[in-house]
């Protein structure tokens, strides 16, 4: 469905909604999943991102996103200098993810302190994105909804307990997606909600013995 502000917008720094705004948005969501700007980032660019990304500021935009800037932030154009200043070590290379991958795809290997995550995502046009994989788990995150990402024991009742805790606080769940590595091992859940999940709910979930890792991904409108 096309909305009014899909047509009158997005508000963004140029030059390309897919190669600049979408690239920035991917970087932004990656740092949100990581829990903040990485210390080190290795980014593989696939297809059109690799081929024409240079002229569209794709690398600069991804760097800016990883620094926590949104697609309409004019500081994006100086992101490389800012990364050097803030100690974000970033490296780009070309990858071939095969013909089935979206032409504007990127693979992130990011680390912050002890945390290290691998994330794959793509820019699907008009500044919109999809995060497709986190640490080998299949996900489907758009960044258009607030979401939480949880890695937990894959035992019966896990999903119900998490969504139950969220529902208890009067928050509406929009989508739930679960992917697991194997029966009885670990599962990754992405739960998109209508409003941001408050930090204390997240802390409560994080305190559960069967939760290994949890992240809050705030809504990204611009």
């Amino acid at each position: 469905m096309t909305t009014l502000f899909d047509i009158l917008g997005p508000r963004m720094v140029g030059p390309s909604s897919s190669h600049t705004a979408g690239a920035c948005r991917l970087g932004y969501v990656v740092q949100a999943i990581l829990g903040g700007t990485p210390d080190r980032a290795s980014v593989g660019l696939h297809g059109s991102f690799a081929m024409t990304g240079e002229g569209h500021g794709t690398r600069v935009a991804i760097t800016g996103g990883l620094l926590g800037h949104r697609p309409d932030d004019e500081r994006l154009r100086n992101a490389e200098a800012e990364a050097a200043e803030k100690g974000l070590e970033i490296e780009f290379h070309t990858v071939d993810l095969g013909d089935d991958a979206h032409p504007n795809s990127a693979v992130f290997d990011v680390a912050r302190g002890e945390d290290r995550i691998a994330i794959t995502g793509c820019s699907i046009g008009g500044g919109r994105i999809r995060v497709q994989e986190i640490d080998g788990f299949a996900v489907d995150l758009s960044g258009s909804h607030p979401a939480i990402v949880v890695v937990a024991d894959d035992v019966p009742g896990t999903v119900a307990r998490i969504t139950g805790l969220i529902a208890d606080r009067g928050l509406n769940v929009a989508t739930v997606r679960v992917d697991r590595t194997g029966r009885g091992e670990r599962a990754l859940m992405t739960i998109e909600t209508d409003e941001d999940v408050p930090d204390d709910v997240l802390a409560e979930l994080a305190g559960q013995g069967w939760v290994h890792w949890i992240r809050n991904v705030h809504q990204l409108n611009a």
């Binding site: 047509i7 024409t52 309409d72």
Partner: protein, 309 residues
Amino acid sequence: MIRSFAEWFEQAESRGIGLAELVERREVKETGVSREAVRKRIADALAVMRHAVQQGLEETGTSPSGLTGGRSGRLVAEGPRLLGEDFTAMLSRAIATLETNARMGLIMATPTAGAAGVVPAVLLTLAPARGWSDERLVDAMLVAGGTGIIIAERASIAGAGGGCQAETGSAAAMAAAAVTWLEGGDNQQVATAVALTIQGMLGLICDPVAGLVEIPCAYRNASAAVNAVASAEMALAGLDFPIPVDQVVDVMGDVGTKMDVRFRETALGGLAATPAGQEIAARAGMTELVQLQRKGRTRGEGSARFGPS
């Protein structure tokens, strides 16, 4: 959601309200956001458009590629004013917006970044000349938005989807609808303005040199603005067009899907694949793109993979 001009007009007429108000009411109903918030967001968009024009006119240096930058300022300084002051100003505003875009400045992608210069060029030039207030401009943007929604639903607004007719063509149609409505045109005249605009841009390919949103984009934004004003002028005079606007939009969609992928933003055809275009791409370090251009890839190969949107 409005899916056709016929539906838009019918719903507005049956409620006894104008086209802008119908779009506004639907947006409020579908998103739950207040009327004031919708209007504020549009007013903010107009402010971004004005700023992007100003920035483009004032910055004299070139874009990182060197393909644009400083051209809008030169037009203002050197243009012979063939059709008067406003005409030259309108062209310069279209180009200035694309120059700001190329420098990673802030723009409103209306409806896309590559066509971001058309609506501001037309509306910001005619507003002082025709005495439109900012409130009226917000209404005009609602009419432009409604027009863009229908085109996006029935055809495409993306160069990768339907060529440049879908990008600058849609933007020009939006601007023509807004102007015709603001000047007191009735719903039929708004429809005619859109139909006239699109018929004049049918088949226009998207062939960005070196894959960059600069050349021919900046100049195409300028000519699209001219097309929009010309169509509004003819529609407001009561000139008619015998093919209904929804059918004209459907033709644009049909032409877009049948367009060879080389002409849909891949930078593998048209001006991008000329010897001069290849040379520019090579200078910009896009070796892989140049190799593909030299191979002269044909229909179906490569898919819509290599360009921006």
